[in-house]
């Protein structure tokens, strides 16, 4: 019945020029708003919500979902071209996307991001349509202990997410976790590390920190090299990417998509967690992990696919339970309420047409984003032709605007500048900054849920082992940590057995 109404609605929408026009308009607005640093998908929706007040509910949903889906990819444009993530979910896109653009492969990077984003979105949608009831069940089994376990899992993965020493990465990640504690405690509203200063009470918001670490940090680096000959503008290179290149990465896209959908389906986990785990996972599995961060397409493709797939995932709790999966779906829910539709178990159970509306809107929005996004790439790469001196000024201005706009708070600008200096110092002395971002994302989730779990269990740590999902996740964490030790031990044993062959210990990284 659902499939039937899905196709009816699809036929209705896809043959109506007015509807297609609206999808196109929504996609363009989403691409542009998403590409502006500091305007997150959430804000793009909130800004455009009043426009839909006079529309019919179905039309309004179509428009808003178009904006939403395209802003997810839009955020990657500024991340790749300017090293400024437009949305929290594109944090990991710039790690490999920006180096690609700098080496004259901006068009390729945008292509990878767009296609991965589309594939991720499609996989997320397909899983949403087919598996919604199963995934909803899975999602409801996620409670505080499981959230804590997922966060811990992410933190363990952290050690695989950056080049160089695992120990250094862990220490930097730990600093990130500590920084995440600044501000109001999520469980008691008590202040921590704030010294009663309004500036610190706001906490260290992720976006200003990231913009500072990566965007401003990069500019400061270039200022230091000011005396040198001006950096050459990167060549535009070939804009379009051979399909075969893309198709070769189907596994990476699929892995990212599945991770994105599942993590997106967990209420409140959000796309930032999905992309960080997808990135770390891909780097861990890669045969050439040391090239991650220098412009490896896989490092771009995996988080992009996860990012879009998490949209489909985050709609699952909304449709199955009537609770929003993340802040973006919460805004979408608010928009529905304005139209007198309150998403909840009743609406979806009683009105399959309405659910079909949402599914069809996601599908059309993905197609529109792909078509318009491909059209825009040629124009977008021209950004890289701007002389570097001018470009850095633009980026600096955008850093300030982006940091301010996220909460309309001047304090966030100061935070951004401070972290710009941190990013600069870190790269001067050779410390990785990615684990800092990891810690800042996952630390608060781990802490909040760990403490709440212990409140529920009245202090007993057994709660984490008694529950199957959290026990499994913790088991995987232990394996991840222990595996390198065990293999190293085995190699040593082998080595001593084989006597002199010990010099030929297989290296962990073939690329070394």
């Amino acid at each position: 019945m659902l499939l039937e109404s899905f196709f009816t609605v699809l036929a209705d929408f896809a043959t109506s020029p007015a509807m297609l026009g609206l999808v196109g308009l929504g996609a363009i607005l989403g691409l542009v708003l998403g590409a502006i640093p500091g305007i997150s998908s959430t804000m793009a929706l909130a800004i455009l919500m009043p426009v839909t007040f006079t529309m019919e509910p179905g039309v309004a949903i179509l428009f808003l979902i178009s904006v939403f889906m395209s802003s997810v990819y839009g955020g990657s444009i500024s991340a790749i071209l300017m090293k400024l993530p437009g949305t929290p979910a594109s944090i990991f896109t710039q790690i490999d996307g920006y180096p690609m653009a700098q080496s004259g492969r901006a068009g390729h990077a945008l292509n990878y991001a767009l296609v991965a984003s589309t594939v991720g979105g499609m996989v997320g949608l397909a899983l949403l349509v087919v598996l919604a009831p199963v995934l909803a069940d899975f999602a409801t089994n996620f409670r505080s202990p499981e959230f804590a376990a997922v966060a811990l899992f992410g933190i363990v993965m952290l050690s695989f997410a950056s080049n160089g020493s695992t120990l250094v990465a862990s220490v930097v990640g730990f600093v990130g976790i500590l920084l995440g504690m600044v501000g109001f405690d999520a469980l008691t509203d008590a202040q921590r590390m704030t010294m009663n200063q309004p500036m610190l009470q706001s906490g260290l918001n992720l976006i200003p920190v990231i913009i500072g670490l990566f965007g401003l940090g990069e500019i400061l680096q270039n200022l230091v090299r000011f005396g040198d000959a001006p950096t050459a503008r990167p060549a535009i290179g070939k804009v379009m990417l051979p399909i075969a290149e893309l198709a070769r990465r189907w596994k990476v896209m699929l892995r990212g998509s599945v991770i994105g959908t599942f993590i997106g389906a967990i209420p409140a986990a959000g796309s930032a967690v999905a992309v960080s785990i997808a990135y770390a996972q891909e780097r861990r599995l890669s045969k050439e992990p040391e090239t991650f961060g220098t412009g490896h397409p896989d490092g771009l493709v995996a988080p992009e696919a996860a990012n879009s797939a998490s949209v489909g995932g985050s709609l699952i709790p909304l449709i199955a339970l009537g609770v929003p999966g993340d802040t973006i779906t919460a805004v979408l829910m608010g928009a529905l309420m304005v139209h007198g539709l309150t998403p909840g178990p009743l609406l979806f159970a009683n009105d399959p047409t309405f659910v079909s509306w949402i599914y069809v809107s996601v599908l059309l929005a993905l197609v529109a984003t792909l078509v318009l996004g491909l059209g825009m790439i040629r124009a977008a790469v021209l950004v890289t032709r701007i002389p570097p001196q001018l470009m850095y000024v633009f980026i600096a201005v955008f850093c300030v605007i982006g940091a301010f706009a996220i909460r309309n708070d001047m304090n966030d600008v100061y935070v951004m500048i401070a972290f710009g200096v941190v990013g600069f110092v870190f790269s001067r002395i050779g410390l990785p900054v990615t684990p800092l971002a990891f810690g800042l994302i996952l630390g608060p989730i781990l802490e909040e849920n760990l403490r709440r779990s212990l409140m529920i269990s009245q202090g007993s740590w057994k709660i984490f082992i008694d529950r199957p999902i959290s026990a499994t996740l913790l088991g995987v964490c232990v394996l991840l940590v222990a595996l390198p030790l065990i293999t190293a031990l085995l190699h040593r044993l082998q080595g001593s057995l084989a006597g002199k062959k010990s010099e030929n210990i297989p290296k962990n990284y073939p690329g070394e």
Binding site: T42, L187, S202, G322, T327, G334, P345, N408
Partner: protein, 328 residues
């Protein structure tokens, strides 16, 4: 050449002449600029919805653009400070609730309430207690009996200290004579999720976030802490009807910085009241589960004073009032 000079002189003079005129005009005809409504919570929440709906109506009534600014962080204090420190010209107002009262006592860095000028009252948000239907508890008496036999059997989901559902979770069990295990969640949406997934068995949320779930039969509302029954849930008795004298509520009002010129303030109050009473806002707000009780500046100030007297003792008893903010 001469003609061009003449042209330039004339345009220059006209610009000069028009400058004082426009500013005089601006003073006469409030509003001549966009009005900014500050919402201290992120986009997507209840206050955000109120800000955007009111903004939509107000822009038509006052014939000017209305912009919603989400100034968030620090438990709402950043946004409240933004309102209190704005120019008192009638172009910055904000949506405020109980949280600002709590923060003004808990957080020495939060703005004091006397820096805010209540302009219009929108709604009461009565407290309530909800239980997941899986528990098989149908009445308030069943709940009390269950809690008396084992206080740990039903855990309650609520805000961190100072939020409205935390205040409700302090007042309601006290009056019912039971001990409640309170589990904090950062906001209403995660609390609803916890109630639906079964991590907590009860919640003390106000009605709007759980209205649809109550209608769907997933959640049972055992009592409403108001004088009258909730308009959207006419079958749910009040606590008073069930023999417990509990009336406790959050509120939603619109505030401005202190010191707005009298005539501007009067126009603003009139426009806001019209927006609150408009058909568009009334129906959307009612469907969303808000209990509208529109009122002007005087009523808003009176209600705020009442809330201060309600909240202070609760926070003091829980030892949450900051040392330097304690009443002597």
């Amino acid at each position: 050449m001469k003609r061009r000079q003449l042209f330039a002189t004339v345009t220059g003079l006209m610009t000069l002449a028009s400058l004082p005129m426009t500013s005089a005009l601006a003073q006469d005809a409030y509003p001549s600029e966009p009005i900014h409504i500050t919402v201290v919570w992120p986009a997507g929440g209840g206050h955000d919805l109120v800000g955007r709906l009111i903004g939509h109506e107000l822009s038509e009534i006052m014939d000017t653009a209305v912009v919603v600014d989400n100034v968030t962080g620090a438990g709402g204090s950043t946004g409240i400070r933004h309102i209190a420190e704005a120019d008192p010209d009638g172009y910055t107002i904000g949506v405020m609730g109980l949280h600002a009262v709590s923060q003004s006592f808990m957080n020495p860095a939060a703005p004091k309430l006397d820096g805010l000028d209540p302009i219009a009252y929108i709604s009461d948000e009565p407290g309530a207690i909800e239980v997941s239907v899986d528990m098989g508890i149908d009445t308030l008496d069943d709940y009390i009996a269950a809690m008396k036999s084992d206080p740990m059997s039903l855990m309650n989901g609520n805000d961190p200290q100072g939020g409205n559902s935390f205040i409700f979770a302090s007042v309601i069990p006290d009056a019912l004579g039971v001990n409640m295990m309170k589990l904090p969640y950062p906001g209403h949406a995660p609390t609803v999720t916890a109630l639906l997934t079964g991590e907590v068995q009860t919640a003390t949320l106000p009605i709007p976030p759980i209205l649809e779930h109550a209608k769907a039969g997933k959640v049972k509302v055992l009592g409403v802490a108001a004088e009258q029954r909730h308009p959207q849930l006419p079958d749910v008795p009040t606590f008073k009807e069930q023999g417990y004298d509990i009336v406790v509520n959050d509120f939603v009002m619109l505030v401005a910085p202190v010191g707005i010129p009298q005539d501007v303030r009067a126009k603003l109050e009139e426009g806001l009241l019209k927006a609150i009473k408009s058909a568009g806002f009334t129906s959307a707000a009612a469907e969303n589960g808000m209990v509208l009780r529109p009122g002007g500046a005087d009523m808003a100030a009176e209600e705020l004073a009442k809330q201060v007297e309600l909240v202070y003792p609760i926070l003091e008893q829980a030892d949450l009032v900051a040392e330097e903010l304690k009443r002597k």
